[in-house]
């Protein structure tokens, strides 16, 4: 029941997107693909898809690199300060988004990055890196420190140990973090509204405007695609981890 409540808003987008009418409405027995056809033939919508995709992938790559490095650094150095540093790095998750948005706005103006890809990627990366920090730290907590000692004992310098022993062992956490980072950026709207204007027009941004300015059912079609991509990303990660589990099982 609760689950239904959670998914209902998402599911409503599906019938609405199939309405033959020119305004947001539930279809009454007659369905049409016209809004999807419009969505995929409109240069504006297509460009928003591409922009969101570029920003989300870049964010995922950067946030994963930074978050993983931070997690490993904090795992290595166990001093009384490392927990403070960790709490500090997790702040973006705790601070209300609207405040982060204003902060980014003020920060990006002097940098000249307002309304640019770089600005959005930077902001999304700051928001997403803590997610990676969390997932990778969880993997590291399960990592047997004796493996690192074994690698060093066998003559491997720190970097080799990192690449050949530590990273392969925490790969699931890195993948999960990358996925979360991608999804965070892919449907981020609050910060995006503050720091983009005309040049960069992401998918959620265009949907937001679509709802405010007219009641074009194309927004519903876009929502369906947005959700589908998110679900797709989850499905890919589920299949990957399932395959890993299965090969592990076969090996046993």
């Amino acid at each position: 029941m609760a689950l239904l409540f959670l998914v209902l808003p998402a599911l409503i987008a599906i019938p609405v997107s199939l309405t033959p009418k020119r305004f947001l409405s539930m279809p009454k027995g007659d369905y049409s693909w016209r809004h999807f056809e419009f969505l995929f033939s409109s240069p504006e919508w297509l460009s928003s898809f591409a922009q969101s995709g570029i920003i989300a992938v870049s964010t995922a790559v950067l946030a994963t690199a930074l978050g993983t490095l931070a997690a490993i650094g904090l795992w290595r150095v166990t001093s009384k300060y490392s927990e403070m540093v960790r709490a500090f790095l997790l702040l973006p998750l705790i601070i209300p988004q609207i405040i982060s948005a204003m902060a980014f706005y003020r920060l990006l103006i002097p940098l000249g990055l307002l309304d640019t890809y770089a600005g959005l990627i930077l902001a999304h990366t700051v928001l997403a890196a803590p997610l990676v920090l969390i997932t990778v730290s969880a993997s590291l907590a399960n990592f047997d420190p004796k493996l690192e000692q074994a690698s060093r004992n066998l003559g491997a310098p720190a970097w080799t140990t990192m690449r050949r022993v530590i990273l392969p062992s925490i790969r699931p956490g890195v993948f999960a973090g990358a996925l979360f980072a991608f999804i965070l950026s892919w449907d981020e709207i609050v910060v995006t509204l503050f720091i983009s204007k005309f040049n960069v027009y992401t998918l959620p941004r265009r949907m937001w405007n679509g709802i405010r300015e007219n009641t074009d059912p194309t927004v519903a079609a876009a929502a369906v695609v947005l959700i589908a991509v998110t679900l797709g990303a989850f499905a890919v990660s589920a299949i990957v981890s399932r395959q890993r589990a299965q090969t592990a099982l076969k090996e046993d």
Binding site: D144, K146, L147, Q149, A150, S151, R152, N153, L154, G155, A156, P157, A158, T160, R164, V165, P168, S169, A248, E251, D252
Partner: protein, 337 residues
């Protein structure tokens, strides 16, 4: 192989005044020890006596608080773990789970950038040494405990280290397998000629495998010697009680340790005047090959006497009065009382 050529001339370790503090706690306390090249030396001691700490300092994973470690006369205090070239078999093995057995064994040569063909040949050789030729392409998770243990050994020996450190390598195996692997380990030690520093808290393992044993207690060396020396001539109460069993007899001139199997026992009055003590059998425990008799002696602690079951010449029973006797050399006078 380069190391293989050099290791015959290398592998003598000297610990001098080696000390490790954790805060105000002293885990290893001023240990002086000369480990001979090619020797099988066992560190034996109860839990918390500092065995692992000592080994980790030799391996380079723990800083030294005071003292020094010398390899063939040269200090290695400032050499980082990855450049000490000591093999190590970790408790729990620490095999790399995502690599095959072959990749695990070849790892040390691989990170030393040896040619592929050389690595493959050496891995084959090591697989043969530990009798796992069939298993090279499996992952560690697909092996039994005993097989994993042998992979860990092969991995640690693959780069022909002058010294091999082993921290309770058989701790996770069941008793029968332990004895089997003990024999293999001894055999491998003889074949490779590497110095083995072996940590255990199993006294039988220590007695049966070692050239020399170091008994440790509270971070100090309690006694050092060959298994036979330690068993026959324990110097302290702790050594006598920890390695094998002992009865402790208080005599006018000090305390003596007396092994239960060195005591003769006969029904009361049948020892023709050579009896040293008389008592009553309070309990008999049957262990197959031997029976342990607890004898209550007036004015003393109970004395344990081990008798070979097949002998049991007098069909001794509980409650029976008995004479106890032993030869002059059987009782060892302890120094610490």
């Amino acid at each position: 192989m380069r190391e293989a050529a050099s290791d015959a001339k290398s592998g003598g370790l000297t610990l001098s005044g080696l000390t490790k503090h954790f805060g105000s706690f002293t885990a290893v306390d001023n240990v002086d020890l000369d480990i001979q090249r090619g020797e099988f030396l066992t560190l034996l001691g109860p839990s918390g006596s500092g065995k692992t700490t000592l080994l980790m300092m030799i391996a380079g994973f723990l800083d030294i608080t005071a003292g020094d470690i010398l390899l063939d006369g040269r200090s290695i205090r400032d050499v980082p773990a990855e450049r000490r070239n000591f093999g190590m078999v970790f408790q729990g093995y620490a095999l790399f789970p995502h690599m095959t057995v072959r990749d695990n064994i070849g790892y040390a040569l691989d990170v030393r950038k040896r040619p592929r063909a050389e690595i493959a040949a050496r891995v084959d050789e090591m697989l043969d040494l530990v009798q796992l030729t069939e298993f090279g392409h499996r992952k560690p998770g697909q092996l039994s405990g005993g097989q994993q243990q042998r992979v860990a050994l092969a991995r640690a020996l693959a780069f022909a280290p002058p010294v091999l450190l082993l921290d309770e390598p058989l701790g996770a195996l069941d008793k029968k397998l332990r004895i089997e692997v003990q024999d293999q380990l001894k055999d491998i030690h003889q074949r490779v000629g590497t110095t083995f520093v072996y940590v255990t808290h199993d006294q039988e393992e220590a007695l049966s495998m070692s050239d020399r044993i170091v008994i440790m207690q509270q971070g100090r060396i309690e006694q050092l010697g060959t298994p036979n020396e330690l068993y026959e001539h324990p110097r302290t109460r702790f050594a006598a009680g920890f390695l094998g069993k002992s009865n402790f007899l208080t005599m006018p001139d000090g305390t003596y340790a007396l092994r239960p199997e060195k005591i003769d026992i006969a029904p009361g009055g049948q020892m023709n005047g050579t009896a040293r003590l008389t008592g009553t059998i309070r309990g008999i425990t049957y262990f197959g090959a031997v029976q342990k008799l607890m004898v209550a002696v007036e004015g003393r602690d109970d004395i344990e006497v081990d008798v070979d079951s097949w002998r049991n010449p007098h069909a001794l029973r509980e409650g029976q009065p008995v004479d106890l006797g032993w030869s002059d050399t059987a009782a060892v006078r302890l120094e610490d009382t």
